[in-house]
């Protein structure tokens, strides 16, 4: 700066503003990205093989008389037959549980959960955000990394994942974990809750994918590389 003043050279002699300079934020640490993709693969396998397992007895009632509720197209399922589907399920349940526990442990130990866990104070922010997303209402002023609706979705999905795991444990080991079956209304009902928890988890995915598409490549890439180029909230901060 001083040299420019000494020589009295005009603007033209200054170095060109480097066009290859960008701003970036490290949004998603490795633990989050790793567990995200591990979990995505596990959920896909568990849901598809689970539907095949359900097809062996597509009912929540008695065996006699058996009243089938649904005929699940084979194309949506994985494993080919009950035994094959169980193999997928019994293999990927470990990845699902492992990735879930690692995710929760990381969030809690790093303190990152404070940015994403839905708390009572977030309740008031849900409706304005819902109005913005679904009814083209005005965009509420954002003060945090995740808005109230995002927090609600992420938190509810993690709870559905925990419910899937716990009901799954009861279905897998109803004798060894009979104490866990009791609050679920018994072994028989646990199968229904396992199905409901899966539906809850899957309900998150379409909305999630739509938001990923709407937010563009840089946002998507950050779940792969961790780095997000020119994040929108940085512009906001420099204006502050």
């Amino acid at each position: 700066m001083a040299s420019g003043a000494q020589t009295g050279e005009p603007e033209a002699k200054r170095p060109e503003p480097q066009s290859n300079l960008v701003t970036a934020a490290y949004e998603h640490p490795w633990a989050i990205r790793f567990t995200h993709w591990l979990n995505a693969a596990a959920v896909f396998v568990l849901a598809a093989s689970g539907l095949r397992i359900f097809s062996a007895f597509p009912s929540f009632g008695a065996k006699i008389p058996e009243r089938d509720l649904i005929n699940i197209p084979k194309a949506l399922t994985l494993g080919g037959w009950l035994g094959g589907a169980l193999q997928w399920h019994f293999t990927f349940m470990w990845l699902f549980a492992g990735s879930g526990l690692l995710y929760i442990a990381y969030q809690l130990l790093s303190g990152h959960h404070k940015t994403v866990l839905f708390m009572p104070r977030d309740v008031k922010g849900v409706w304005p955000m819902t109005r913005h997303y679904f009814l083209f209402g005005p965009k509420p002023a954002l003060t945090e990394q995740y808005n109230a609706l995002q927090k609600l979705a992420y938190t509810a999905t993690v709870l559905c994942g925990m419910a899937s795991l716990l009901t799954g444990i009861v279905l897998y080991k109803p004798v060894q974990f009979s104490w866990l079956a009791w609050p679920m209304g018994g072994y028989h009902l646990a199968r229904l809750w396992h199905f409901v928890a899966m539906c809850g988890f899957l309900a998150f995915i379409p909305g999630h994918l739509i938001m990923v598409v709407l937010h563009g490549w840089s946002n998507f890439a950050s779940m792969l590389t961790g780095w997000k180029r020119d994040p929108e909230y940085l512009a906001r901060r420099s204006a502050e």
Partner: protein, 251 residues
């Protein structure tokens, strides 16, 4: 320039060279390589070995969880489904034509008294009656009433070496099964000759079947003809297991 944004722990780099960012990004992307390894499951010829390993891991963990003193829940008579609502479930023939008059159970393997045992000898052992849940791998379950002798009592009668690892059975309908010794010795594991207070009918496995409340239903073989005590399992571990079901199948 590097600073941390307020409110959370994100690192923010203002004015970083694009090339540098690409290098950083590539390095981070590579750290996800372990996830890509899951692609091995998409390779047809690796699928079976990998899934086999997954099932073996699950069976191993299931064995660790098993506790002899953990009893399967028993139910009052009011919770038992009526006899006609207890499914006849067989993989093939519901009546393999067992000669009930001349039936004997052949006992072999690591036992002091191998040979043929009659139903009367088994019925002379202390009789256990229990209302337990029969859980099918397909996803349905029924609470039924079962009566019979403890497998552990029968193993004592035949002088079995219970430090052996397995009990295997063969059946009149060519079904076959094998059990870990810990489950065979479980106090609720029965050589079952009665259901609902009556002798087993042909559809339920007359004259003798297994009733194992701590295992999935397919382990409870019917129409028993032979029981062996062994520490070595051959290629034939169980009819369904040999086609891909879990061998341990513990509840």
């Amino acid at each position: 320039m590097c600073f941390t944004s307020s409110g959370d722990s994100r690192t923010v780099l203002a004015s970083i060279e694009e090339k540098k960012l690409k290098r950083l990004s590539r390095r981070e992307l590579l750290k996800l390589a372990p996830v890509v390894a899951l692609g091995a499951f998409a390779v047809t010829r690796w699928q079976d070995p990998l899934l086999g390993r997954g099932v073996r891991l699950s069976d191993w963990a299931s064995g660790l969880l098993f506790r002899r003193q953990h009893r399967a829940k028993t139910f009052s008579a009011a919770d038992v489904v009526p006899f006609e609502k207890f499914p006849y479930n067989g993989y093939d023939d519901l009546d393999p034509g067992v000669d009930l008059e001349n039936w004997t159970l052949t006992v072999a393997g690591n036992v002091r008294h191998p040979g043929e045992y009659t139903l009367a000898q088994i019925q002379a052992l202390p009789k256990i009656r229990q209302n337990t849940r029969h859980v099918c791998v397909e996803g349905w379950d029924v609470i039924g009433s079962f009566g019979g002798a403890r497998i552990s009592d029968f193993l004592a009668l035949v002088g079995a070496d219970t430090s052996s690892r397995f009990v295997t059975v063969e059946c009149a309908d060519d079904y076959y099964e094998s059990l870990d010794m810990a489950t065979a010795l479980h106090p609720q594991s029965l050589l079952c000759y009665e259901m609902y207070g009556k002798p087993l009918d042909r559809g339920h496995g007359a004259p003798l079947r297994l009733s194992l409340p701590t295992k999935l239903g397919y382990k409870s073989a019917k129409y028993l003809t032979k029981l062996s005590v062994t520490s070595v399992l051959g290629a034939e571990r169980g009819y369904w297991e040999d086609q891909g079901y879990s061998w341990y199948a513990g509840l």
